[in-house]
Structure formats: C-alpha cells, structure tokens
C-alpha cells in the first residue's frame, strides 16, 4: 500500500469527474428510499390528484380561483419551497450535523467540487419532485387555455424556482444550524406576508421569480403589472444562485466542526 499518496496527479484525469459523481451518487442514495422522500412524493402527487378531481368534476378549468389555488398556492407557494427546503438543507447541512459529512471534508478535494456535487443532488431532486407534477397539473387544468404554454410555463418556472430555493437554502444550511427555521420564516413571513404588503420586497422573493417566469411563458406578450418582468426575474434568479453558491463554497472552506448549534 505504499506510495499511493503521491499518485494524485495521474488519477486526476479520470478522477476529477468521478469525485463529483461519487459524492452525488452517495448523497442521492442517502436521501432516497426513506420514509420522508415517500412522504414528499405523496405531497408532489397531490396537485396532480386534485387537478384530476377538478377535471372530473367538469368545472374549474378556466376558473381563476381553482387554478390559482392549485398552481400558485399549492405548487409554487407550498410544495416548491418545502421540497427546496428539505433537500437544500438535507444534502450537506444535516450530514454536517450528524457527523456523516466528516469523512468527506477530510479528503483532498476542492471545496467547490463538494458544493457542486451536493447542489446537483439538491437541485436535481427538488426539480424532480416538483416540476413533473406542475407540468401534469397545468396540462390537466389547461392553464393558459388549450395548448401547452401553461404546462411549459409551469415546468420552466418551477424548475428555476426549485434551483434558486434549493441553492439558497443549501447555502443557509452552511451558514446556520437553524437553516430550517429561518427558511420557514423566509417563506412564510418574508414571501408570504411582507412581499404582499411591500412591493419592493418582490425583487427579493424566489416565489415572485417563479410566478413571473411561469406567467411570462404561459401568457406570452401579456404583461402582468403585479409581477416582475421576465428578464428581471431571470437575472435576479441567476444572481441569487451565484451568490448562494459562492457563500456556500466560502463557508465550506472555513467549516469548523462542532459549530452547528443544537
């Protein structure tokens, strides 16, 4: 077993990609196949079930109250942040808390690679749990009239939203041990209450990005004065993702054991 420590360089070519894949595969394996992901899957199926019920009842399609309740309140306002919060904080924050992340940290791996691998899983799972459901629900409800614009809008909007939520909550879980509580307050109070009262706050609301992107694709050419415009929403989403990722890498570089509060 001698001399392996010095063999980092030749292995690097094949190893570079596989390190990220290795971490991602392990993380996904740890998260799936447990009771909580089953619960989340049921939650993700809920909008589809309700949309189906609405369609069966023969009413509702085109009914603004019903579509808003399912697409906006259930999917964008509830399902999307919950899923982003759970996966964003679970992929690394929870592992740091229970100690299973230590073996990962004591490896000669650039910290941005660890962050990238974890983000791939958090974002990928969040999208997987929300966007297909949003697509099907929107298609069943014929959001935005006949045709696929509503379904496509729902998929793109929720995918962007899931990415931003998961990345931001991931970074939050590296900043504080109470990421979940703070994430909930952000969703319920900042986005839920304050963004409704103070319009300026909408620029700092992931929900508003999601709604704006969804709406812009669903109703192309129609401007909704209550929502951000599409370029703004996209740019702000990207800015949020980049800032959160940078913070995550910086925090992980300086991660100190035993600092998470309990």
């Amino acid at each position: 077993m001698s001399g392996q420590a010095a063999t980092g360089a030749p292995a690097a070519a094949s190893g570079r990609r596989s390190v990220i894949l290795t971490i991602a595969a392990l993380t996904a394996r740890g998260l799936l196949g447990r009771r909580r992901s089953l619960l989340l899957a049921l939650l993700a199926l809920l909008p589809v079930g309700i949309a189906f019920l609405v369609r069966l009842s023969g009413r509702g399609t085109g009914d603004e109250t019903v579509t808003t309740a399912i697409m906006d309140r259930l999917i964008v306002t509830t399902l999307l942040p919950i899923v982003g919060l759970v996966f964003g904080t679970a992929v690394l924050g929870a592992e740091l808390e229970d100690g299973t992340a230590i073996f990962l940290l004591i490896k000669p791996i650039d910290r941005w690679r660890i962050v990238l691998a974890k983000l791939i899983v958090a974002v990928g799972l969040s999208i997987a749990f929300v966007s297909p459901s949003a697509f099907v629900a929107a298609a069943i409800l014929q959001v935005g009239g006949p045709g696929w614009s509503g379904a496509v809008g729902a998929v793109v909007g929720t995918a962007v939203g899931a990415t931003v939520y998961a990345t931001v909550f991931f970074a939050l879980s590296l900043v504080t041990g109470r990421a979940l509580a703070i994430g909930l307050i952000y969703v319920l109070v900042w986005e839920g209450v304050l963004a409704g009262l103070l319009e300026g706050i909408r620029a700092l609301s992931i929900r508003q990005y999601t709604l704006a992107i969804t709406d812009a694709i669903t109703h192309p050419g129609v401007t909704n004065p209550d929502l951000l415009d599409l370029p703004t929403a996209l740019i702000l989403s990207c800015v949020a993702i980049v800032i959160a990722a940078v913070i995550a890498v910086r925090r992980l570089r300086s991660f100190q054991i035993g600092q998470a509060d309990d």
Binding site: L53, L74, T78, V86, L184, I185, V189
Partner: protein
C-alpha cells in the same frame, strides 16, 4: 506499598466482600409527582422561548413574540388615525376579532419549530427513560409538554390583544367607556386564544411525537397546517354540492377562523367558510374536537412509546 494497579486482587481462594463506603439512603420527604410535573412544565415553557438556551435559540421565539406586538401597535395606530379623522366605518379598522388572523402565522411558526425541539431532544439524548423512571407518569410528561407549548402560544397571542386594549384605553378621553367596551371583548378574546393555542400546539406535538428528526417534523407540521387549507379552498371553489362542504372541517385554520367568528359574533373570513353555509358554532365545536383529539393521540403516543 506495592505496584499500582494490583492492590485489589480477586483471585481464587479469596472470599468476596462488599465494602461499606458510607453511602446512606434517603428517607426524608420527597417532592413527588406534582413537583416533577411543574418542573417539567416550567422547563418546557422556558425552552419554548429559548430561555436557558444559547442566544441563537432565542432568536426565533423572540421574533415570533415581537412581530405580533408590532402588528398590534400598527392596529393601535390605525385606530388612532381613524379616531383623529373621524372615520366611523368601524368594519374597516382592525381590532380584537382580526388579531387571530393577523398573528396566526407566528403561532404556526413557533409550534412548527419548537414542538419538535421540545420532544425530539429527549428522544435524541435518550433521557425519556430517566423521566419515566421518576415519580412522573408517562401521561404527565405528555401533558406537561402540551401545557407548556399551549401556554407559550397563549402568551404569544395575548400580548397583541393586551397592547390593543391598552392602546384603546389610552387613545380616548372617555376612559371608563373604553374600559367597558374592552372588557366586553375579553371573554371572546380569552376563549378564542385558548382554543387556538391548545389546538395548534396539540396538532404540532402529535406530528413531532411521531417524527424523530427535528427538521422533518418541522416541515411536516408546516405541511399539516398549510396543505389542507389549499385543498379545502379548491374543493369549496369547485362547488361540488352541499355534501362536499363538510370537507372544511379537516382544515384547522378554517375551523379556527370560524370559531373566532363565533366567539366575537362576527362573520368568518370570506372565501371558504361563508360559501359552505355552515353555522360558525360548528367551527368552534370542530376546533374543540381537533384540540381534544390531538391531545389524546399525543398522550396515547407517550403511553406506549419505547423509552
């Protein structure tokens, strides 16, 4: 004067012996079950507000306490403006009946975050067995936690009402009249707050008692409060006939709103309950059933949980 470590030898041919180290039993008075219950209750109540915990544990409870107070101050200010400019349309000015709707979200956050904290800690550090080997009964443990979390929510919700009352009395020159009006509101306030607190706390604790990991318990509590609300809203909006109206009874926030309306003798919030045509008294009854039922499940859980 021998080598360290072999002073006591248990070899063959040696009789065993028990050494009298001078320990004595305790035969004085014991504080007993009631004291244990009170201690646990006070400890849990303090923990809910982060007292006796490090600073970061106090941030969230402080936030949940301060924000409703700020809202109450805003209500007082709105009332002051209304009085100043002679606006008589009382319905537009928020007061005690509207408070439950305005601060409810903070009660939700507090119980969603602190219920798993109150129960999960004892499970994680495996100290339940210590509690259960004391004078305390398993039922006492559950009830103390339930009582503490309910009390915390009562405090959270009463503070803004108190601010509103003080504001109303100070705003007017007719102090006696204001006191009288406020006093007539207080039975409704107490009833509404108490019912809301116990129902909210009990539902959160039932979830927390069944999900060991703090994070997932919190998210699940959140889901249990929010998701039925949306489903009920959709079903009511679909207007599937009178039989479907009964679905509102599964949503805690809707029945609590109806209960609040019953206590204050006003109309429930528009959107869901009024569409059903059900009497608001039914909301109060349903809330009570949920509160009692959830408490019973929680107590039952601790009767059988493996310590």
């Amino acid at each position: 004067m021998t080598a360290g470590g072999d002073r006591v030898t248990a070899g063959p041919g040696r009789a065993g012996s028990i050494f009298d180290l001078g320990y004595r039993g305790y035969d004085g008075p014991r504080l007993g079950r009631r004291h244990a219950f009170t201690t646990l209750f006070v400890g849990a109540l303090r923990a809910t507000f982060g007292l006796g915990r490090p600073g970061r544990a106090k941030i969230l409870p402080a936030f949940c306490l301060v924000f409703p107070a700020i809202i109450a101050v805003i209500f007082v200010a709105l009332n002051a403006f209304a009085a100043r400019f002679g606006i008589s349309d009382i319905g537009a000015i928020p007061g005690h009946p509207e408070m439950a709707g305005a601060v409810g979200v903070f009660a939700t956050i507090l119980v969603a975050v602190q219920a798993p904290e109150l129960l999960g800690r004892d499970v994680r550090y495996r100290v339940l067995t210590l509690y259960f080997s004391r004078a305390l009964l398993r039922t006492d443990y559950a009830l103390a936690k339930l009582g503490a979390l309910s009390t915390a929510v009562v405090i959270l919700m009463l503070v803004p009402h108190i601010i509103l009352t003080v504001g109303a009395v100070l705003l007017t020159t007719d102090i006696a009249g204001a006191l009288g009006r406020e006093a007539s509101d207080w039975p409704a306030i107490l009833g509404s707050v108490l019912l809301t607190a116990v129902a909210t706390a009990a539902v959160a604790l039932v979830v927390a008692a069944h999900i060991a990991r703090r994070a997932y318990a919190t998210v699940t509590v959140f889901g249990v409060f929010i998701v039925p609300q949306i489903i009920v809203a959709v079903i009511i909006a679909l207007d599937l006939g009178p039989a479907s109206h009964w679905v509102v009874l599964v949503d805690l926030s809707t029945v609590l709103d109806a209960a609040n309306a019953w206590f204050f003798g006003i109309a429930p919030s528009p959107g869901v309950w009024p569409e059903t045509g059900l009497p608001v008294l039914l909301g109060a009854v349903a809330s009570l059933v949920i509160a009692v039922g959830a408490s019973a499940i929680m107590v039952q859980r601790y009767r059988t949980i493996a310590a």
